[in-house]
């Protein structure tokens, strides 16, 4: 199967996705159906959109740095750098091929290292559509995003190395398997599931893994009172959290736009630019919904909720950023913003301690976005979407739980109570993120 068919989407999208083949065949001398120009455009789209998604790693790092206490900031920075490294390496070593090689309607691909092959293109046949490397690059940055989601939820109490082991398994096994079901052309794809850029395959996968981690790890000391009360633990730097959100918003143009997988035809250009504006206005919807709702309920706007709202809007639109009108995209995002305002305190009530709200943002809004696809895309059905959500959720939650539990009962996943008081930075890294500022204040 041609690499170009990877992540070929069903449900009415194949027309667009394939359009690169049909047009721009401007050089009659060339044998294949895809012109060299289209080949370059397609590759360029992966590269540009790929580096935008890569930069989301910085966005997650800043968002999470801003939302943890300063005694854990250096550790969360280290986790964000190292998870990107681990995820990228594992996706090369086994993940990519486990997701895309020889899935053929089944349940997983082939666990072996990836290697690219551009012989056809070099010989003048551009029907592969784009370079193997640009495709790998774009797919790789997606798996890093999934891992970033987990780090935020389990922050401030998880041990560094066990966390990285989890990330390795996630990137090498869990993410590729569910990915293969759909984007690898597995059973879900055959069944008619639709998830354009990964509301389920990326965001919910990260969210489920985070959720199982949060439950198994337990809450941070002091988060919940003995009497069941919830004690908020404000983050250390809201401008960094805001910066992180803006970086993620920027990265999302790459995330959703690049998922068109082609830029070689006018139809692709139309699709990607439609995706851009829908993606943007969904975030706008998330922002405004979260603002209005927190103002109404709490009489004050909560900045952290608004940031979460923007991201929830983005996650919501990710399953179908190409089909809605601007107005629908706005509403889809706004519902995401509403959901996050409801989900965050709900998780608190369930005594699930999600430090940055990642479960509410990526899992809850991811489910919503996936289920909302049939509203704007005739090719998708509610039943099909529900099947996908349930199957992916079930698999990821169970698989993640097994990994977390194995880690818990072997090397342990949680820092000691004393180290938690002291902060991971001092306990695990032996340094401080802001060594010059007073430390005592952290408990005032």
């Amino acid at each position: 199967m041609s690499k170009f068919k990877n992540r070929l989407r069903r449900a009415g999208l194949s027309g667009l996705a394939l359009s690169a083949f049909a047009s721009l065949s401007i050089s009659p001398a060339m044998a294949g159906e895809v012109s060299e120009t289209a080949y370059i455009f397609n590759t360029l789209s992966f590269m540009i959109h790929g580096f935008l998604v890569m930069f989301m790693a910085a966005g997650f790092a800043m968002l999470e740095s801003g939302l943890v206490r300063s005694k854990n900031v250096a550790t969360i920075c280290l986790k964000n750098v190292s998870l990107y490294a681990v995820a990228g390496l594992m996706f090369y070593v086994v993940g990519y091929n486990a997701m895309y090689m020889g899935v053929d309607g089944g349940f997983m691909g082939t666990f072996m290292p990836w290697s690219g092959d551009n012989a056809d293109a070099l010989a003048g046949n551009f029907d592969g559509g784009y370079t193997a490397e640009s495709d790998w690059f774009f797919q790789m940055v997606f798996v890093a995003t999934t891992a970033s989601i987990v780090s935020g939820t389990v922050a401030e109490r998880i041990k560094l190395w066990p966390f990285l082991v989890f990330v390795a398994v996630l990137a090498a096994v869990i993410y590729p398997i569910t990915g293969s079901w759909q984007w690898g052309g597995g059973w879900l794809a055959e069944m008619g599931f639709s998830d354009f850029a990964g509301s389920t395959l990326v965001h919910s996968v990260g969210g489920w893994a985070a959720l199982s981690g949060a439950i198994i790890l337990g809450a941070r000391k002091g988060k919940f009172g003995a009497d069941g009360s919830v004690r908020p633990i404000p983050g250390s730097s809201l401008p960094l959290a805001t910066l992180g959100t803006f970086i993620l918003w920027l990265g999302w143009f790459g995330f959703n736009g690049g998922s068109q997988l082609a830029l070689g035809s006018a139809a692709d250009a139309i699709a990607i630019s439609t995706i851009y504006i829908n993606t943007n206005i969904a975030a706008v919807g998330g922002v405004l919904a979260a603002m209005v709702l927190t103002q109404l309920i709490y009489k004050k706007v909560d900045l952290t909720m608004v940031l979460n709202g923007a991201l929830a809007g983005l996650v919501s639109i990710t399953a179908a950023p190409d089909t809605p009108t601007l107005a629908s995209a706005f509403l889809i995002g706004a519902v995401g913003g509403v959901l996050v305002v409801i989900a965050v305190p709900l998780l608190d009530k369930l005594k699930i301690d999600d430090v940055v709200g990642a479960v509410s943002v990526h899992l809850v809004a991811g489910i919503w976005g996936t289920l909302a696809v049939p509203l704007t895309n005739d090719g998708a059905t509610f039943a099909g979407q529900l099947t996908g959500v349930a199957a992916v959720g079930g698999f990821v939650f169970i698989a993640s739980s097994i990994v977390w539990l194995v880690l818990k009962f072997t090397v342990g996943i949680r820092v000691s109570e004393e180290d938690e008081m002291l902060g991971s930075d001092q306990a695990e890294l032996g340094l401080e993120a802001y060594p010059e500022f007073g430390r005592g204040s952290q408990t005032i």
Partner: protein, 112 residues
């Protein structure tokens, strides 16, 4: 020689400093502190959960003064720091047994 320690509202610092300068007191040491008192803190909501901020930002002044200035300094601080609203702060006074100016080695009232 007495040490006067006053806890006041942060935005009153400049007024107090000027009031003391007018009295000829040109030395003081200031610390950022958080205060807990009758002004009970405020209930806030963060990410949907209510909580009380117990400690409020205050500024602490330490002013060492000659015995004869103690009364007027306390009055000046009190006058400048007062808003009449809860949380205005307190002024505490201690005895000091000695003082030394590091630069010159002077001691006693000379050193203030």
């Amino acid at each position: 020689m007495k040490m006067i320690m006053a806890v006041i509202k942060p935005f009153k610092l400049d007024d107090v400093r000027e009031a003391l300068s007018d009295l000829g007191v040109d030395g003081m040491t200031v610390t950022e502190v958080k205060g807990f008192g009758r002004q009970k803190g405020h209930a806030e909501i963060y990410r949907g959960a209510e909580y009380t901020v117990h400690f409020l930002p205050k500024v602490k002044l330490e002013v060492a003064v000659k015995a004869d200035l103690v009364e007027s300094v306390i009055e000046a601080i009190a006058a400048a720091a007062q808003t009449g609203k809860i949380g205005d702060g307190k002024i505490f006074t201690y005895d000091m047994s000695s003082v030394l100016r590091v630069r010159t080695g002077e001691t006693g009232d000379e050193a203030l």
